[in-house]
Subunit: 296 residues, 2 copies
């Protein structure tokens, strides 16, 4: 079984998790949580989204969170950017990495940003250009790469096409995302294997949701296809609007536990991560955070 | 990724699941449940345990369940046997397959049956002999193969030794069981790979608990090590005395879902399985049965 020696984890809970939580977590608590996550050893955190507060009021304090956490850290703090205005807001706070998301299905992209895929690619091209001028790193994500809640199956060639275009506009890394949690391990192995061959010369990362309990099996399959960067969310926060009661992103603490037992390095201190989990539980309640972590 | 074309599922919910449920499910409901599981296409079901009712009152109706379901079916009905008296009871009802369980740690075996491993091997040897004389198939299980709640790590050589002895006494299949749910995919791949080389000429099966959410990742690893027989429990019943609130065995419906999406045959009709899940939910409540199944 071909496995990596080392894996990088991108904590997306403060963005993907909190944007799907019904509560508004106060700005101070968000900053505390991100700082706690930094102390646990995470080197990359997607801390917020510069989306209009009308759409996601939970993240209306994007500027304050970024400024409160600071951007001159050893941990790279990134933010999701849906449009030019969002990019300008992010740049003004000194964000060093942005995440641009395009869906692999037209319906999902229209619902998400009211643009076709081609329109999004063109629009993001100009943001990526500005980012490169400003020295900001750009990460590109392909949402619903493994299946769409509106269209069902998604043609893999469309995923590779979008990934190629994102690479050509200068993204340092492409994320294939199972936004609703419908992927299975065989599909994961195939899609990442092919993507590695067809879109070479760029890092590939995986973003899985654990909606149906297949998240960690998908991680195992992705590692065997050569993936070494994984998004996850502390406490498995987030849920999914299409599956009420279901877990959200794969839980960071479960991912770390699995990798650490498999002797795959993550650089994360599980004891310190327990503190983040305790903090989160005291805020959003225990029901949402099913993950268990074994300290030590 | 080397995967099998076809996998056999051994449903153990009526035994491993129900013995860990706090409720006593009535004999009629148990028979209904087993019959429902048979209709879904399962070819092997461990229906009960012939243990003394003082130890597991939930299964005190072992005879009635076996007689009620019948043993002349296309689906093979098996039962767990802890001792000679249990074997005699099982034989009298016409059970065609028995399951003998030995723990890979002395402490767990003592707690379980108050015998050392060597005493158990000797004792089971005579039961296996009687079974062969009677034309009853014998399955051997090695409990806590991946870790023990009392002793922690379990030396793999002890697992292979017990597996060899079980094979030598005539078992047609050896199950390596993660009784408490501590296995990780790398360990699973290693242990089954080695077991396949060291204990050749006998079928190997995997029995995982989903205590920490790694159950399906472990199935993926085991399949890559050549395993094609998996125990699971409808609704993920069972829990675990060492992890309150945690899920029990891997849920049959989730296992079937994953395999079916990976185009690995199981012979199970997912729509008919939904009926079993509905029946179970109406009896033990929804909290215990987190599994979702997609009909069709």
């Amino acid at each position: 079984m071909k496995l990596p020696r080392k894996v990088s984890i991108v904590e997306v809970g403060p963005r993907d998790g909190l944007q799907n939580e019904p509560i508004f977590m106060s700005t101070d608590l968000k900053i505390d949580l991100v700082n706690c996550l930094i102390r646990s050893g995470l080197k990359r955190i997607e801390a917020t989204s510069f989306v209009h507060p009308r759409w996601i009021p939970q993240l209306k304090d994007a500027e304050e969170v970024i400024k409160g956490v600071g951007t001159g850290l050893h941990t790279r703090i990134s933010a999701l950017i849906p449009n030019l205005r969002g990019y300008e807001r992010a740049r003004e706070c000194g964000v060093r990495e942005i995440n641009l998301v395009i869906s692999a299905s037209q319906s999902h992209n229209m619902k998400n940003v009211n643009r076709t895929i081609e329109e999004s690619l063109k629009y993001f091209g100009s943001i990526a250009e500005a980012a490169q001028r400003d020295g900001v790193m750009v990460r590109g994500s392909v949402a619903v790469s493994f299946g769409c809640p509106y269209e069902g199956k998604v043609p893999p060639d469309r995923v590779y096409h979008i990934a190629s275009e994102l690479k050509n506009m200068g993204c340092f890394e492409i994320v294939l995302a199972d936004t609703v949690g419908v992927a299975n391990p065989a599909q994961v192995y195939r899609l990442f294997g092919e993507a590695g061959r067809k879109v070479s010369g760029v890092g590939l990362a995986a973003h899985f949701h654990d909606t149906r309990g297949l998240g960690l099996a998908n991680v195992l399959a992705a590692m065997q296809a050569g993936v070494t960067v994984f998004d996850s969310s502390i406490g498995g926060m987030g849920g999914c609007p299409y599956a009420p009661g279901a877990p959200g992103n794969i839980a960071t603490e479960k991912l770390v536990m699995m990798l650490s037992e498999m002797k795959i390095e993550t650089g994360i201190d599980t004891c310190k991560m327990t503190a983040c989990l305790d903090m989160l539980r005291s805020i959003v309640g225990t029901g949402k955070t099913g993950g268990e972590i074994f300290c030590g």
